[in-house]
C-alpha cells in the first residue's frame, strides 16, 4: 500500500472526481461527502508519502510498471512531498470551510462544481508529484482548464475575467510546452532526471538557452509574476468566493514550485544561477513585483482585490528569494510556498465568510465587524499579522530566511523591498481592522444606501462549519511558525541540492 502512495495521491482524487459526478446524478447531496472523502484520501496519502520520504529518501514510482523513458515516472523527494501535503491540506480545509457557501451559491450545480473542484486539485497534486516534464504539462492543463471553468462560474464579470485568464494561461502553458519541446529535441527525453543528466553536455547550445528562457517566461506568466500578472487580480477577485479561496492559495504557489523544480532539477543550479546571468535581474524584477503589488493593494478598497494584489507581491517574495541563489534564499522561497499557501487560504476564507454575511466586499462595509463576527475577525487578525510578518506566526519566519538570504547575497534592494512590503501590509490590514473596530453599525444607517448588501444590523457570526476550519487554519499559522526551524532543517534542507551554499 505505502509503496503506491505516489500514484494514490493522484489516482484517488482522479477516480473520485468521476464518482462525484455520477453520485451527484443520483443524489446531489452525495457530491460533497464524496469530494471530501477523495481529498481526505489524497491528504492522507501525501502525509504518508512525506513520512516515507523523510524515512527512506527519494521515492521512485513507475506508473503501471513502465520504466522511463517509455513510461511516466513519479519521483518524490522532500520538496514535492512537502508541497503535496500543503496542497492537499489547503484544498481539504477549503472544501470543508466553504460547504455552506457552495450549497448556497451552486444549489443546482453541486455535482459539476465538486467534480471540477476535485479535478483541479488532482491536476495540482499531479503537477507536484510528477517527475516527467511533459506529464507536468498535461496536468498543468487539467488544473488550468478546470480552473477556468470554476472561475467562470461566478457572477458579473467573472466570465470575462475567466476568458482573459484562459488567454494568458494558455500562452503561459504553451511557452512551457515549447520550451520542453526544445529540450526533447536535443536530448530525446522528457524525464526530468534524464534531462538533468543529459543537459550539462549541451549547455553551450542555443537551443538549451532558448528552452530555458521560454520555459521561464511561460512559468512567470502562469504564476502572475509582475509585470505578467495582469490576469490574476481579475480572475481571482471575480471568481466565486469558494473558488478564490482554493485557486488563490494554490495556483501561484504550485507554479512557483514548478519553477523551483525545473530550475534546480532539470537545468541544474550551475546552469540556472551561474551560466545564465539572470539571477540579479530576476531579483530586481522581484523587487519591482513586491513594490508594485504592495502599492496596487493600497489603491483598492475591495477586500478580495486587495488580497490578490498582495499575492502579486508575495510571488515576488518567492521568485526573488529563489533567484538569490543561496541556500537561505531558496529555503525561504520554499518555506514561503507553504506558509503563503496557508496564509492566503486563511485570508480568502475569512473574506468569503465575511462577504457571505455582509453581502459586500468593500472594506468600508466592514464597520463594526469585530462586534458582529468576533471569531472570524480574530482569525483575520492572525492571518493579517502573519502576512505582515509578526512572530511567532509563520509569515515572520519565511521573511526571516528571505531577508537573511538577501543579506548574505548582498541584495540590499530585496531587503528593502521586503521591509517596505511588510510596512505596507501593516497599513493595509490595520486600515481594515480600524474600520471594523471603530465604526459601529448604527453610525452608517441612513448615511449612504446599503446597496446590494444585506441589512447590516442582521449580520451575525459565520456558521460553525466555516469557523472550525478557520480556527484550524489560524492554528496552523502559529504551528508553521513555531516549527519553521524544523521544517527547514528536516525537510527543505534535504530538498536543496548539496552544491548550493
Amino acid at each position: 500500500m505505502s509503496a503506491h502512495y505516489p500514484a494514490l495521491v493522484v489516482v484517488i482524487p482522479l477516480v473520485a472526481a468521476f464518482l462525484v459526478l455520477i453520485g451527484s446524478l443520483l443524489n446531489k447531496r452525495l457530491a460533497f461527502p464524496l469530494a471530501a472523502l477523495a481529498l481526505l484520501g489524497a491528504l492522507l496519502a501525501s502525509i504518508g508519502l512525506l513520512i516515507r520520504v523523510m524515512q527512506v529518501g527519494v521515492v521512485e514510482y513507475h506508473l503501471a510498471g513502465w520504466a522511463p523513458p517509455i513510461g511516466i515516472a513519479y519521483r518524490v523527494d522532500h520538496l514535492n512531498a512537502l508541497v503535496l501535503v500543503a496542497v492537499a491540506s489547503v484544498a481539504f480545509i477549503n472544501l470543508l470551510g466553504t460547504r455552506p457557501l457552495v450549497a448556497d451559491l451552486f444549489e443546482d450545480r453541486l455535482g459539476p462544481f465538486y467534480t471540477l473542484y476535485v479535478l483541479l486539485v488532482t491536476g495540482l497534486l499531479g503537477i507536484v508529484v510528477t517527475g516527467d516534464a511533459f506529464n507536468l504539462y498535461v496536468l498543468l492543463e487539467i488544473a488550468a482548464l478546470t480552473g477556468y471553468a470554476l472561475v467562470g462560474m461566478g457572477e458579473g464579470r467573472a466570465p470575462l475575467a475567466s476568458l482573459n485568464y484562459i488567454f494568458m494561461g494558455t500562452v503561459g502553458a504553451s511557452f512551457y510546452l515549447l520550451g520542453i519541446g526544445y529540450l526533447y529535441l536535443v536530448t530525446g527525453t522528457l524525464n526530468m532526471a534524464d534531462l538533468a543528466a543529459r543537459l550539462p553536455a549541451l549547455y553551450p547550445s542555443r537551443v538549451v538557452v532558448s528552452a530555458f528562457v521560454i520555459c521561464l517566461a511561460g512559468l512567470c506568466l502562469k504564476m502572475g509574476f509582475f509585470p505578467l500578472h495582469a490576469w490574476l487580480p481579475n480572475a481571482y477577485s471575480h471568481a466565486p468566493d469558494p473558488v478564490s479561496s482554493l485557486v488563490a492559495p494554490l495556483m501561484t504557489k504550485v507554479m512557483v514550485y514548478v519553477m523551483v523544480r525545473i530550475m534546480l532539477f532539470v537545468f541544474t543550479p550551475a546552469f540556472a544561477f551561474d551560466l545564465m546571468t539572470i539571477s540579479a535581474p530576476m531579483v530586481w524584477l522581484a523587487v519591482i513585483a513586491i513594490v508594485a503589488g504592495s502599492f496596487l493593494a493600497l489603491s483598492t478598497r475591495r477586500i478580495k482585490r486587495m488580497l490578490t494584489y498582495i499575492i502579486v507581491a508575495e510571488v515576488g517574495y518567492m521568485v526573488g528569494g529563489f533567484w538569490l541563489g543561496n541556500r537561505l534564499g531558496i529555503s525561504g522561497a520554499i518555506l514561503h510556498i507553504i506558509n503563503d499557501a496557508v496564509m492566503t487560504l486563511c485570508v480568502f476564507l475569512t473574506a468569503a465568510a465575511i462577504i457571505a454575511r455582509t453581502g459586500s466586499d468593500r472594506i468600508d462595509d466592514m464597520q463594526g465587524l469585530f462586534k458582529k463576527m468576533p471569531v472570524t475577525m480574530a482569525v483575520f487578525v492572525i492571518a493579517g499579522l502573519s502576512i505582515i510578518g509578526v512572530p511567532p506566526t509563520c509569515g515572520f519566519f519565511s521573511k526571516w530566511y528571505l531577508i537573511s538570504g538577501a543579506l548574505a547575497a548582498g541584495q540590499y534592494g530585496f531587503v528593502g523591498a521586503l521591509l517596505l512590503s511588510s510596512l505596507i501590509n501593516l497599513v493595509l490590514f490595520f486600515r481594515i481592522f480600524e474600520i471594523a473596530y471603530f465604526e459601529p453599525f448604527e453610525a452608517q444607517h441612513g448615511e449612504h444606501s446599503p446597496g446590494p448588501g444585506r441589512v447590516l444590523s442582521e449580520v451575525q457570526e459565520a456558521p460553525l462549519e466555516t469557523l472550525a476550519p478557520l480556527v484550524v487554519t489560524a492554528g496552523l499559522l502559529f504551528a508553521l511558525g513555531i516549527y519553521a526551524g524544523d521544517i527547514v532543517s528536516l525537510i527543505i534542507d534535504q530538498a536543496i541540492p548539496v552544491g548550493i551554499l
Binding site: V390, S404, L419, S422, L423, L426, E434, Y483, G485
Partner: protein
C-alpha cells in the same frame, strides 16, 4: 554565574495571558475584576519568588522551543530583567485597583475589552523583561505594540483613531523597518542573538557597521520615545488614564528603554562601544531628548500632555545613564526605571483622579484644586519631587548616581545637562502645585470643601506616593539589582 533551570519565568508571563479568557467571559464586573486582581497578584508572587535566587547572583533560565537552528524562544531572568519585571508586575496590582475606580467612576464603555488587553500587555512586558535573546524580545515587543492598540484607541472616536494610527506607525513601523533588519544583520554577522554580558558583536563587525546597527536599534525601539521618534507618546494620551499611567509611563515606554539598554549591554557590549567611541553620539541623542522634551513640557497646558513630554525627557535619562558606560552611570540609569515608574505613575494617577472628580484636563483650570483634593495634590507634589530628583523622594537617588556616573566618565557637559534638566522639571511641575495650594481664595476655582475622587482612585496614588518617598530611605531591592546588573555589564 550559576544558572537555574525553571519554568517560573514562563509562568510569570503566561499568568496574565491565561487570565484573559476568564476576564472576557466573566458575567459580572466584580468577578471580572476579581480575576484581574488574582492574576496580578499571582504574577507578582511568581516574579517575587525568583527574587532571592537572583539577588544571590543566580540566573534563572528556561528554553521554550527552538524555532530556528540555534535560535530559541527562551527566557533568562537576570538582575536587570528582574528589576523591570518587579516594577511592572507590582504596579499592575495597584493600577488594577485604580482602573476600577477610574473606569467605573467615569462609567466607561467596553471595560471587559479594556481589562483583557491590559492583561495581555502585562504578559508582553514581562516577556520582554525575561527574554534571553533578541528574537524572543522582538516577539514580545511586537505583541505589546499590538495589545496596547485597542487600549490607546479605547474611546473609538476620531481623535483616538488618529492617535492609534500614529501609535502603530511609530512603534510597529520602526520595529519592522529598523529593528528587524538590524537583528537579521546582527545574526548574519555573529550567528547568535543571545544576550551576553560582553555583547556578541565584538570582533565581528567594523566600526561603521556597529554605528549603523546602534542607530537602527536605538531609533527602532521607538517605544523609548527618543527624539525624533517621540511624537506617538503625547498622541497616545487620548487613552484612559490608567493606560497612560501604567503603559505610557511604565510598561510600554520602559520596554522601549529596557530594550535599548538590553541591546547596548547584551549585543554590543559596553567595552565595544567604548573602544569605538560610540558613547558620545548616544549621549548626544539622549541629552537632546532630555532638554527638548523638558522645554516642550514647559509650554503644555493639558496636564497629561505635559506628563507625556516629561516622560519623554525622563526616559532618556535611562539611555543616557547606559551610554555613560560607567558602573555608576549604568546603575543610575537602571534604578531610574524604578524611581521614575513610581513617581510618574503617581502623577498620572493624580491627573486621572482630577479628571474623574472634576472633569478638568488643563492646568489652567486647576487653580485652587488643592483645597478640594488635598490628598491627590499632595501626592502630586511628592511625585513631582521624585521626578525632579529632590529629596525626600527616590528620584534623588537615581539622579545622584547619574551625576556620579557622568563625573566618573569625565563628561562635565552631561552633569550640566542633568542639573539644568532638573531645573526645567521644577519649572514645569512646581507651578502646578503652587497654583493648586497657594492661590488667593478669590482666584480659586474650587470650593474649600474636600471632595476627592472615588476611594479606588485615591488609595493607589497615595500608596505610590508613599513608596516614592520610601524608596529614598530604603531603595531595595531595586538598588541592589541595578548595582548587580551594572557590575555584570560593565565588568567592574
Amino acid at each position: 554565574m550559576d544558572t537555574l533551570i525553571s519554568i517560573k519565568p514562563l509562568l510569570a508571563i503566561l499568568v496574565s495571558l491565561l487570565a484573559v479568557p476568564l476576564i472576557a467571559t466573566s458575567r459580572s464586573p466584580n468577578v471580572r475584576e476579581g480575576w484581574t486582581f488574582l492574576a496580578a497578584i499571582v504574577k507578582f508572587a511568581i516574579v517575587a519568588s525568583m527574587l532571592p535566587a537572583v539577588m544571590s547572583g543566580m540566573e534563572i533560565s528556561y528554553k521554550l522551543v527552538e524555532v530556528l537552528p540555534g535560535l530559541s524562544i527562551a527566557f533568562r531572568v537576570d538582575a536587570f530583567g528582574m528589576l523591570f519585571a518587579l516594577v511592572a508586575s507590582f504596579l499592575w496590582i495597584i493600577t488594577s485597583a485604580y482602573s476600577i475606580g477610574y473606569m467605573r467612576g467615569l462609567d466607561e464603555h467596553a471595560q471587559t475589552r479594556y481589562f483583557s488587553f491590559f492583561a495581555v500587555s502585562l504578559s508582553a512586558a514581562v516577556g520582554v523583561a525575561f527574554s534571553a535573546n533578541l528574537l524572543t524580545m522582538y516577539l514580545f515587543y511586537e505583541m505589546l505594540s499590538l495589545a496596547t492598540y485597542p487600549l490607546v484607541t479605547h474611546h473609538q472616536d476620531k481623535e483616538a483613531r488618529t492617535s492609534g494610527r500614529k501609535y502603530l506607525l511609530y512603534t510597529v513601523g520602526a520595529s519592522i523597518g529598523l529593528v528587524l533588519p538590524a537583528m537579521l544583520l546582527t545574526y548574519q554577522l555573529t550567528g547568535s542573538l543571545d544576550f551576553s554580558p560582553q555583547g556578541v558583536l565584538a570582533g565581528n563587525a567594523s566600526r561603521g557597521t556597529v554605528a549603523l546597527l546602534l542607530f537602527m536599534f536605538v531609533f527602532g525601539f521607538a517605544k523609548a520615545a527618543i527624539m525624533p521618534f517621540h511624537s506617538w507618546l503625547p498622541a497616545a494620551m487620548v487613552a484612559p488614564t490608567p493606560v497612560s499611567a501604567l503603559l505610557h509611563a511604565v510598561a510600554v515606554v520602559k520596554v522601549g528603554v529596557f530594550s535599548i539598554v538590553r541591546v547596548v549591554t547584551g549585543i554590543f557590549g559596553t567595552e565595544l562601544l567604548h573602544n569605538f567611541g560610540l558613547s558620545t553620539p548616544l549621549l548626544f541623542v539622549a541629552a537632546t531628548t532630555i532638554l527638548v522634551g523638558s522645554f516642550i513640557a514647559l509650554s503644555q497646558d493639558n496636564l497629561k500632555r505635559m506628563l507625556a513630554f516629561s516622560t519623554i525627557a525622563q526616559l532618556s535619562y535611562i539611555v543616557l545613564g547606559t551610554a555613560l558606560l560607567t558602573p555608576k552611570g549604568v546603575t543610575g540609569g537602571m534604578v531610574h526605571i524604578a524611581m521614575h515608574a513610581f513617581g510618574k505613575i503617581t502623577l498620572f494617577f493624580c491627573a486621572g483622579a482630577i479628571f474623574v472628580a472634576t472633569g478638568k484636563k488643563n492646568i489652567s483650570e486647576m487653580t485652587g484644586i488643592g483645597r478640594r483634593m488635598p490628598f491627590t495634590m499632595l501626592a502630586f507634589f511628592f511625585g513631582a519631587l521624585s521626578i525632579i530628583g529632590m529629596p525626600p523622594c527616590g528620584g534623588f537617588l537615581s539622579k545622584w548616581y547619574l551625576v556620579l556616573g557622568a563625573l566618573q566618565a569625565d563628561k562635565i557637559a552631561i552633569v550640566v545637562v542633568l542639573l539644568f534638566s532638573s531645573l526645567l522639571n521644577a519649572a514645569y511641575f512646581m507651578p502646578v502645585v503652587y497654583r493648586a495650594f497657594f492661590c488667593p481664595p478669590e482666584e480659586a476655582l474650587f470650593e474649600a470643601r474636600i471632595q476627592e475622587a472615588p476611594f479606588f482612585c485615591v488609595a493607589p496614588l497615595v500608596i505610590t506616593a508613599v513608596i516614592s518617598i520610601g524608596l529614598l530611605i530604603y531603595p531595595q531591592p531595586f538598588m541592589q539589582l541595578a548595582t548587580m546588573a551594572a557590575a555584570k555589564f560593565t565588568g567592574f
